[in-house]
Symmetry: C2
DNA sequence: TTCTTAATGAGAATGATTCGCATTTGCATT
DNA sequence: AATGCAAATGCGAATCATTCTCATTAAGAA
């Protein structure tokens, strides 16, 4: 199966028309391991020669989020939201406060915690946001 | 010791001049158990007859955050930042996506996780952001 | 190919936060 | 208590991310 078929399927499943812009965004997100801001995405698309406007980038990302195709997050002290393809393996991110790079960490430490909250506080948990920040391996060296 | 002495001490420790506006903000934050937005704070201050401008509210909160007097957080799908007094007992929050209320939960489930990250990934953890969202007790009933 | 409607582009509008600058005020020092 | 000066404030303008409006284009069903 070609990559483009994969994207077509994602769009069909989301009831979204297959446009050049949507393909291109899926492709860029697919290649970027780490989350990207709407503007970075826009710049990368322009660089690839894709005709698109920034408002369309935002609209597409919104639609994708609605359909669960992408996940939006906000890192502390970063003003723009960032987006990444939804990934079956729920995971989290480390943010290096020096170089601002984002590192994925597989797994999630919150299963027991959420169960506890449901039982003790009678609160139905629908999800969570977790980001860890600090100094990455490389930036530690440089000091 | 009077409350106002407590605030004076906080400001002195932070090398910040004692102004009416700063006292008033400390007082409002102290009374509000849950985190508040800059604008809510501004409204509450006006209601109390404190002369202050919104930009001053932002400036004071920034200064307080700088000094570790307050903690700023951003909840998912809430456009404004919220602030609360720093609290020795590190804790987290539950956000009800129906009524938008915020509930504190004592304790933190991330100690082991952070240790693991430091060991396995050679990343120095400085902190984390964690918010859990879902449906609160009251909103569950209403359905 | 035609028709309907969703999607796009361009720019204006919005909303939260920050900035610039003139004025005021806390506070250290006479 | 009066003085001087840096820090803090008020007000409006500026900025930045994001959303909205509306005229135009293009999927894709028929
Ligand atoms: Mn990731
Ligand atoms: Mn709290
Ligand atoms: Zn780094
Ligand atoms: Zn609720």
């Amino acid at each position: 199966m070609k990559q483009s078929d994969k994207y077509a399927e994602i769009l069909k499943k989301g009831d979204l028309r297959a446009t050049k812009q949507r393909y291109a965004i899926l492709e860029v997100l697919d290649c970027n391991g780490a989350p990207v801001s709407a503007e970075d995405l826009y710049i990368q698309l322009k660089r690839k020669g894709i005709p698109i406007s920034l408002s369309t980038v935002y609209r597409i990302l919104d639609a994708f989020q609605e359909k669960g195709i992408v996940v939006r997050s906000n890192f502390p002290d970063v003003s723009k939201a960032v987006y990444e393809l939804f990934c079956e393996e729920h995971h989290h991110h480390l943010l290096c406060v020096d170089c601002r790079r984002v590192f994925p960490v597989e797994g999630c430490p919150l299963e027991d915690y959420e169960r506890l909250i449901e039982e003790r506080l009678n609160f139905t948990v629908k999800g969570h946001n977790l980001e860890v920040y600090g100094h990455c391996k490389d930036c530690k060296k440089k000091t």
